[in-house]
Symmetry: C2
Subunit: 203 residues, 2 copies
């Protein structure tokens, strides 16, 4: 395991955190150069153009996200627990401020001004995240581990939207706790109502 913390990795990591802060037009090669400790021109050696850099960055982000979903998929069997861990991952990221926003969610908000190649990657992430959530919800509903109120697909899109909106609110309020406050009840609502007494009391 040689520490291949290559310069290009440093550039990507730096660019990622800059994008998370301000989006595609919110950073420049000069910003990266300052942080990484390299000259502007050297970045062009690794990534000829800004589009190359961001496309690579989003592609890698997607790989990580896909790997994360796959990991959840064969480490955890309970669908509700999978969703809890997914939300918990973001809750932790937001709490320690390491990466308090999904790269693709942020870029998606600027889709109209994004280079096409980047936009395609961003949209692809939404599709694969939605597809995974749909499969989790579908399985959970089929086995009675989750309680859905509409189709798995519709619930998945609602779940994703709420998670993204919760990131936004946490940022707007400047309060990481908001994320958990919004996603907590979202997960609760999906849990099957086991205790009959409580369920009846709600009627």
């Amino acid at each position: 395991m040689s520490n291949l913390s290559t310069t290009s990795d440093d550039i990507l990591a730096c660019a990622r955190s800059l994008i998370v802060a301000g989006g595609y037009n919110g950073f420049s090669y000069a910003d990266i150069a300052d942080v990484v400790g390299i000259r502007k021109a050297s970045i062009h050696h690794h990534f000829p153009s800004k589009v190359d850099l961001v496309r690579t960055l989003v592609a890698r982000y997607r790989e990580e996200a896909d790997a994360g979903m796959a990991n959840l998929e064969h480490q955890v069997s309970d669908p509700l627990e999978q969703l809890r861990l997914y939300a918990g991952y973001w809750e932790a990221c937001i709490a320690d401020a390491t990466a308090p926003f999904c790269v693709c969610a942020l870029l998606a908000s600027q889709l109209p001004v994004l280079p096409e190649e980047v936009g395609l990657e961003v949209r692809a992430h939404f599709r694969s995240l939605s597809a995974w959530l749909t499969s989790v919800l579908e399985r959970g509903a089929r086995h009675g581990q989750l309680q859905l109120m509409s189709t798995p697909r519709a619930e998945a899109d609602a779940f994703m939207a709420t998670v993204h909106g919760a990131m936004l609110s946490a940022r707007a309020y400047g309060d990481p706790k908001i994320f958990g406050a919004v996603t907590g009840p979202l997960l609760e609502r999906l849990a099957p109502r086991l205790p009959p007494a409580t369920a009846l009391a709600l009627g």
Copy 2:
């Protein structure tokens, strides 16, 4: 009532649509000049700096939003209907693509790179929107017109987050229908589960 469609109004309107498309760093004075049909320098006559322009723009947006909430508040009495109309407003905006995103939601995503003065206005919008939603939900719950699963405040933040996330998904999918698909069930869930007899009696 002379039609005071002043140049400064045109500038603000143009800047708003550009911000909705790409955020604070997604447009320049030159872009506005091209659209409005004026020279770059003339914009500085109306708005000395970009911060002035965007601060004014967001302040006006907030006024309109506040007016919209106040209007809903004394035109419609049923809380659920108020929420439906609120969501419906955005559904229409997204469908006809006139303003397919909330200015403040988009700017909030870039809060870390926003000039402080603009950031303050953006945060203020989140607070007043959340406060209004909270009051609607609280009243609805008190009068049995809405069915909440947690505190009005928590439900309000969840509602707001889901609406914002739905805007994002609609943009990411490039499909306006997604917004309604996400917010529809959200509203349904808040409607009280009335026994058929009662429902008919109310009809």
